[in-house]
Symmetry: C2
Subunit: 339 residues, 2 copies
Amino acid sequence: MSSPAIQTTPAAHGEDALTALVALVREDLDACNRQILERMQSPVALIPQLAAHLIAAGGKRLRPLLTLAAARMCGYRGDRHVRLAACVEFIHTATLLHDDVVDESDLRRGRASANAVFGNQASVLVGDFLFARSFELMVEDGSLEVLRILCSASATIAEGEVLQLVIQNDTSSTEAQYLDVIEGKTAALFAAATRVGAVVAGRPVSEAEALDSYGRNLGVAFQLVDDALDYSAEQEKLGKTVGDDFREGKITLPVLLAFSRGDEEEKAFWRRVLEDRQQEEADLPHALALMQKHRAFADTIARARDYGDRAIAALAGFPDNAEKRALIDVVEFCIDRAR
Amino acid sequence: MSSPAIQTTPAAHGEDALTALVALVREDLDACNRQILERMQSPVALIPQLAAHLIAAGGKRLRPLLTLAAARMCGYRGDRHVRLAACVEFIHTATLLHDDVVDESDLRRGRASANAVFGNQASVLVGDFLFARSFELMVEDGSLEVLRILCSASATIAEGEVLQLVIQNDTSSTEAQYLDVIEGKTAALFAAATRVGAVVAGRPVSEAEALDSYGRNLGVAFQLVDDALDYSAEQEKLGKTVGDDFREGKITLPVLLAFSRGDEEEKAFWRRVLEDRQQEEADLPHALALMQKHRAFADTIARARDYGDRAIAALAGFPDNAEKRALIDVVEFCIDRAR
């Protein structure tokens, strides 16, 4: 099918980077997946059914992979990081379930979303369950420092999501507000996921902060690419629909760039489609054309690459090892999705 | 306005019991309310706005009152219980926000529900925020034992809510399932709220378990009365609408009793209105008449009184003091709401 979306060249290097990371922590990841399956169980059968729809459907397990690799890079030899990686995935899954309710999404990971199959009510409540269960797992781990990191990240995620709701449909939103949104809704969990790697390994605060910085910058880069991809033909290969954000009136960087660089007529267009939500069939192709004209897509990716470079720089103080190289390559994976 | 609901005599003794409890822990409660207001703040203004709509609107603060009184009854002289009481109220508020989304409620505490004013999306996300914030407060408190109790209660609440969703509209649900639902969605937090009172006071496990039993039985009694009140004229005085559960097809004990004691024609009626959700105007009065005929309302209250007695019995081992007497009287308050 011919798509009106921005054409990009297929990813190559990126997928390999993720494959290499998975291979490196294969045993840990298998153990983590077992923990996830075991601990999402409940006497209330609908809970594992709904959770399995999303969790067992796959997903990249990117966040738990980051926890596993960060801990190993720090020289950790125990197995606490496996349970904490499962916590991170539970928090992520809970937010996905609630996001899909909030966004009224029908699709997730290329199949019907949980709310589309099981209803909004069950999605809200099973999200709550997974959230609570992740805290139970942390309590079992027993580190107050880890609890502090992941509880704080959870509150920040919710703040980012609420802010996103507040600035939605508002073309006068600023880039600073947009960055606050993605630092909250996405980067906070990436930062926490990598930071706990240093904490379980008992490394000094400076290393925990370096890994926090790596995760936070990677998370921002990841979300920037995600927001660009929403306007790219690559999106369809990821099992998503081009223009979802556009239809919801979500204010993302590609939109903010095209808006700020547009003339009055173009600004009026953006206000009509995103603020008034008056959209016709020809509007998405027109929006894509404006983005190309103003290099909004390319500059969003360039910005992502910038954050990716900062993520890599944050790892400078760590000794060279296979996990460090894998974490550097993951940055490429996150950005190359848009190529 | 003349109501078709079951007429009951007004509460008297009950309100006094709550007033006495409030007077007894007045300073602690004021400190707790300050904590609540302070810790629901966020740079994202919609969060305190929405939270204030529900929290500042009042509510009885029953659960935090239980934590405060239980700690004092156990001889606790510090102030950790104040923060933990705020945690309990945050968890309760988060579940109320999500409940109202799940139930599509328009009313809460006699005014428009948060979801009706701010939308479902904001209610889901601010609920998540309050939930995460409550865990942050627990981490600040620093007791893994308290964290274990409240995390476990939170997971159990979600399980109870999901089970309620599963058996909703199903008249073949059993009393055992119904009890599982209310032990999860209501009694688990009551039990945790009172148990942490013993834990902060450093009392032995036997006393923590006794307070757990007090809270759990009180919580079941409380919910039984709530479910009876849904069919009582008293409901309107509480700022709620008679028959909400009926319209949603919620399976509660009054319904299960009337159904199981009904003849085939009555069973067909219950199936039509609750399973098929085919309801006409005359159906609620008819349902109320069937409940009176089969003593479903009175027997639900009797059952609540039974659980209330067990709650009081659980306090037997504690030395007599003002807080213990107040906790005993609170049982009366919870049950007398239905008189």
